[in-house]
Symmetry: C2
Subunit: 376 residues, 2 copies
């Protein structure tokens, strides 16, 4: 693996940006949506199918992988790319967020976090240094700083304290990351909904210096309006010439609103998780395939979609296999959802390059507002 | 859809036969193994992947499909081929066997069977005439006679009575099937392990006349030795110039033994069901991927296998995703198992054509006897 990590801004339309991240494992067209491959698999998808949806990069979860199969084991097996048969770029989170949301009996100190595995109750310790080591063992291309993130709403004192701890951990992450050509370390801005804290966090991160900058601490229960309020100013606090990554977002309209406000990268379990629960995202909004109205419907989910689920199967079939708990339901609906999310990204990239983002966005919202096709 | 249903015997080596069934939906190379697509899907597989394993034909279950989504509904949606996105031949069973093994509160009369659905308890009625109607509505290429099949061991009186009922139902099935060019109706020989009853059944079926003949009532608990004893004479009771289908078989060595004895077609849920339970069939026998010995093993399931599971993934990965209950485990292990079963069939076809079946069989058994590769 030779070459380096590099971000090129290729165009801009208002605050929206289009660009390219070059890595030794391939390019990432931005704005990019990253499917989540939690434990070494984007659930219900083969990696070649994930790629076929248009994904340039997937996300892996440090928390899950450190517990099972274990980072040292993945390293012995040749790294996460080979392990999961995905040779393109991988971004790994730091484990911090999922320790807070999934693990048991957490104890937080200046040093790091001690917690119990949600799988077998075993005790684990995560620090900025250990998180960097795990992400190196996994072979991650884009490594995230170890941070702490309170659920919202939280009082300002808690957010401020947490953000400052995360900034000290960001400095320790930078030190521990070391010199790894071709790999990137991203800092994570915190500060909740407090503009001055976001500002302070951005300054702290820029003083350390990172290959990219994430906006953390959003999509944790604050609602879209509050999130967009933050995104109206947060991206502008971060360096122009580095990718900006909004973590854990989101629904299609969240994604469009974030890109409009200057975000370059996003990830979310929504398209894959929803695929397994029968919730389907289409140009005309959400379709619940479980609904009896689809039982006799010979039409595809979305006649304008070219994904395998739409080209090969009726709503009636998808309804049947979903109701029958057949695995193919998860496979096809996940594929469709991921395809649709990538189609949104490609649509926005094209629109930004051609400086017609506003028109694209208006059509996006107008088509959604139509709602699903009439019942048969 | 034009053309007709036709069987050509292309070669023979001892009792083993190689041939081709031509249908308007494509050819079926025999000996053929038919993956089971119970409810309109071969579980955990996309149909294009089923085809990629080498399958020429899949099996659908009348019992499951009549209950959900319903035969009339499938017909309105354009038939089972379009419904499940499989344009090649489909064989459907008659529902008889699964009514006996799955349904509740069965009541058997000369007319047919009344039973309660295992899904919602609704009352249903199946007769030879209704079974033919359902299989026609599904659009099945190879239709099976409605029969009754007792579990073994059963006393001779029960087997005899059941076989004679099935023969009367076979005549009613033939009448109800009507004239359907390009489609075939197969009779089903019964008679348990009783040679004279098998003979009587074969004579009754030949007197009616069918496009193919199945050997039913085996693989129901009698053991391989007893099954092979029947297969030593049963295929020879059936017409030379028609395909012979052994229903519900089996394990790799069952399949090889059946082909050796003159069987042309088989079906079984084993490769797909085992894929979902972590049982893997390889040239060197069965591998249980759950076993801890695989956790650090970078080698593929079978280094000589070219299926996607073996080309792209280590045993360590397959072990990890199986233990993590990831859907990709079912997808990859099912694919491998189906691929291996089709590889056995292709190997036997080649060996029979070249009159070296005995050598092929010896190597098949010798390789299995080696057992799995040494642990790492």
């Amino acid at each position: 693996m030779t070459g380096r990590f590099e971000f090129k801004l290729l165009g801009r339309d208002g605050a929206a940006r289009v660009g390219k991240i070059a890595t030794p494992r391939g390019d990432i067209a931005t704005p990019a949506f990253m499917p989540v491959g939690t434990a070494g698999t984007v659930k219900a998808m083969l990696p070649e199918s994930v790629r076929a949806t248009g994904a340039d990069i997937v996300l892996g979860n440090t928390y899950h992988l450190m517990l099972r199969p274990g980072a040292e084991r993945v390293a012995r097996l040749g790294g996460l790319h080979r392990f999961m048969n995905w040779e393109r770029p991988i971004l790994t989170d730091s484990g911090g967020f999922q320790v807070m949301s999934l693990a048991g009996l957490r104890k937080l100190t200046e040093e790091g976090v001690t917690f119990k595995s949600h799988i077998d109750g075993a005790r684990h310790h995560l620090t900025p240094e250990r998180s960097m080591e795990i992400q190196r063992l996994l072979g991650s291309d884009i490594v995230m700083c170890f941070d702490e993130c309170p659920a919202l709403p939280a009082d300002r004192g808690r957010i401020e304290e947490s953000m400052r701890l995360s900034m000290r951990w960001a400095a320790r992450s930078r030190d521990a990351f070391g010199d790894r050509p071709g790999h990137a370390l991203f800092g994570i801005q915190q500060g909740g909904l407090e503009r001055d804290l976001r500002e302070e966090s951005a300054e702290a991160l820029k003083a350390i210096g990172f290959e990219g900058y994430a906006i953390g601490g959003l999509a944790v229960g604050e609602g879209q309006a509050a999130m967009f309020d933050v995104l109206d100013h947060a991206p502008g606090m971060l360096p122009e010439d580095r990718p900006r990554y909004l973590m854990g977002v989101g629904k299609p309209d969240d994604i469009v609103g974030a890109v409009k406000r200057g975000v370059d990268m996003m990830d979310c379990v929504l398209p894959s998780r929803s695929g397994r629960t029968g919730q389907v995202f289409t140009r005309r909004g959400v379709v619940n395939i479980k609904n009896a109205r689809h039982a006799d419907d010979p039409r595809p989910l979305d006649e304008a979609c070219i994904c395998p689920a739409c080209r090969g199967y009726s709503r009636a079939y998808l309804h049947h296999v979903f109701r029958s708990n057949e695995i193919i339901a998860s496979m096809l609906l996940t594929w469709h959802n991921l395809h649709y999310f990538q189609e949104i990204m490609a649509g926005m990239r094209g629109a930004i390059v051609e400086a017609r983002f506003e028109a694209w966005e208006a059509e996006f919202h107008a088509t959604r507002a139509l709602g699903d096709i009439e019942r048969i």
